[in-house]
């Protein structure tokens, strides 16, 4: 089974990368840009047929390693 995980900074947490990217895009002429925030993305494939179990497993990965829960939020999606 294949999942995607998107990890984003919590609201109110400074996103220095997003800020610089935003300025750069603006300077490149993309003036309509209102806001951009940068996060991480994972594509994860696991050997597990049971969807519930699989999702639990992905969740565990997020909690244990992929996400810094203190400053980040995350969301899991099943792919295909």
């Amino acid at each position: 089974m294949k999942f995607s995980v998107t990890v984003t900074l919590k609201k109110d947490v400074l996103d220095p990368q997003g800020k610089v990217v935003q300025n750069t895009l603006f300077n490149l002429g993309l003036k309509n840009l209102k806001n951009i925030r940068q996060g991480k993305y994972f594509e994860i494939e696991i050997n597990e047929q049971d969807e519930k179990k699989a999702e639990n497993m992905i969740n565990e990965m997020c909690q244990k390693l992929l996400v810094n829960l203190i400053i980040e939020d995350y969301q899991i999606n099943k792919l295909q």
Partner: protein, 225 residues
Amino acid sequence: MKSSVIVFPGSNCDRDIAVALEKMQFKNQMIWHKETTLPKSDLIVIPGGFSYGDYLRSGAIAGKSLIIDEVIKAANDGCLILGICNGFQILTETGLLKGTLLRNKNLKFINKDVHVKVTNNKTKFSSKYKINQILKLNVAHNEGNYFTDSFHLETLKKENLIAFQYCDKFGNINNQANPNGAIQNIAGIYNSKKNILGMMPHPERMVDKLISNTDGINLFSSLIN
């Protein structure tokens, strides 16, 4: 010889390279990235550091700056271009050099002295070195893991475009001597015309005996000739 060092916000080896160039009798100028013209130079250096904080991808944002268009023009006219560390990353982002620099394989920043072998000494950058000479240079980077597709890798070898390769102190090119996972231990490459050199190690850190050694000097003295 006239040289220009391009300074981006976040460049931090700009002073170091300027000191080295001046010590080697270059007439050097610092060029702020917002400038739209380049003074006539024999050598353009893109220094190390963290241009734009290395945010997004190292070198990506600097690769879009105004001055880069001028650098590309000069490069096409045959001007010598040297990109060190972040400068190398910027050159790959602009397409002046092929391939890319990925995260170090251990995902950690690495600063240490490493050995590299001079793989090609028949260029304007390396003529003062002996072929296969072993240099001890300092590396300091997060993304020094050079990667390119197999087709380009063949070209690099066929056209003798590999400048330096990481090796051990005896000159053996192997995994243990590879600090960052770079393909074929590549530490630096040339473009096809060999007027552009991108390298991860910092030659400017190796021009003063008191600080380190003088293994970087011949790179600059090759250029003077």
